[in-house]
């Protein structure tokens, strides 16, 4: 189970780098507890929308309330936990 979560985190990092065109970052540069917005990765509001699309496309999770994003897109760890318990694919 631990290994599975670890794989999911690595997969998430790779997807975020690709989907958000963070070309100057590699998987190793992102810590599981880094803030995705603000002083961490410095993502912006359009990136937040892209993350919502990513959840739906890759894991079949539809966020109906945009405010949910604030609680999910805190860090890679938080995203992975949410995906693991809500994924439909």
């Amino acid at each position: 189970m631990e290994l599975k979560m670890s794989d999911l985190r690595t997969e998430l990092k790779q997807s975020i780098i690709e989907q958000l065109n963070l070309e100057e970052l590699s998987i190793e540069d992102i810590d599981n507890n880094d803030s995705l917005f603000g002083d961490g990765l410095g993502l912006d509001s359009i990136d937040a929308l892209e993350l919502i699309v990513l959840l739906e496309k890759d894991y079949g999770i539809k966020l109906t309330d945009p405010n949910q994003g604030k609680e999910i897109f805190i860090s890679i760890n938080k995203m992975a936990e949410y995906i693991e318990s809500h994924r439909t694919k």
């Binding site: 958000l20 065109n21 963070l22 070309e23 100057e24 359009i46 990136d47 929308l49 892209e50 699309v53 739906e56 496309k57």
Partner: protein
């Protein structure tokens, strides 16, 4: 009309055919086989842009950021430097990408670039400009239009400098000519000089 004689093309850039020229001098050129995607990445690295947001932009914005960065390097410009741009394909490539994405889940990051004047905003953010800007969509390079509009902005005091020109991108083919117009320089800001500088890579 007399006032126009005091305006000069202070600097100019041409990007076409895998080649970047500043004031008619080639500063960077690539193999013929390099497409825009690779060209824009390589130019970013070689010219040390150091602007991570660049990678998130659509191709037209990348072209605008790249060309304005080189054009304005070591130039003293004020926040009221106006932008007068033009092309013939508007935001064609990203519009097409957006249309294709509608078959699945639409990408917000693609949608935000589906207007040609977004590039003017991106350039303004990077160079901290708070100025007049306009993006004309014309059949072909129209030196008279660029001259008239820029002269009006400069002579009315609405801008202290103008960056004007042509920023065209269609099917990954790019054609750029931008010039910085100010009261300093040796090349008079005239229709003939604009056409001559634009025409260099077209021969």
């Amino acid at each position: 009309m007399d006032k126009a004689r005091n305006l000069f093309i202070t600097n100019s850039i041409r990007i076409k055919n895998e080649k970047i020229s500043l004031k008619k001098e080639t500063i960077l050129s690539f193999d013929k086989e390099v497409g825009f995607s690779q060209f824009s990445k390589d130019a970013y690295k070689i010219l040390e842009l150091k602007y991570p947001k660049y990678h998130k932009m659509d191709s037209l914005c990348k072209l605008g950021i790249l060309s304005s960065h080189i054009l304005l390097l070591n130039q003293e410009i004020d926040a009221d430097t106006a932008l007068v741009f033009s092309n013939s394909s508007s935001s064609h490539d990203i519009d097409l990408k957006h249309k294709q994405s509608m078959e699945n889940i639409v990408s917000p990051a693609v949608f935000v670039y589906t207007l040609p004047n977004i590039v003017l905003g991106e350039i303004s953010i990077k160079h901290k400009l708070q100025s007049e800007n306009v993006f004309f969509v014309e059949d072909k390079f129209n030196a008279e239009l660029l001259l008239d509009y820029s002269e009006t902005l400069l002579n009315s005091g609405k801008a202290s400098n103008v960056v004007c020109g042509w920023l065209e991108l269609k099917n990954d083919q790019y054609d750029v000519f931008l010039c910085l117009v100010s009261k300093n320089g040796e090349i008079p800001f005239t229709k003939e000089n604009l056409e001559e500088l634009y025409g260099i890579e077209n021969e």
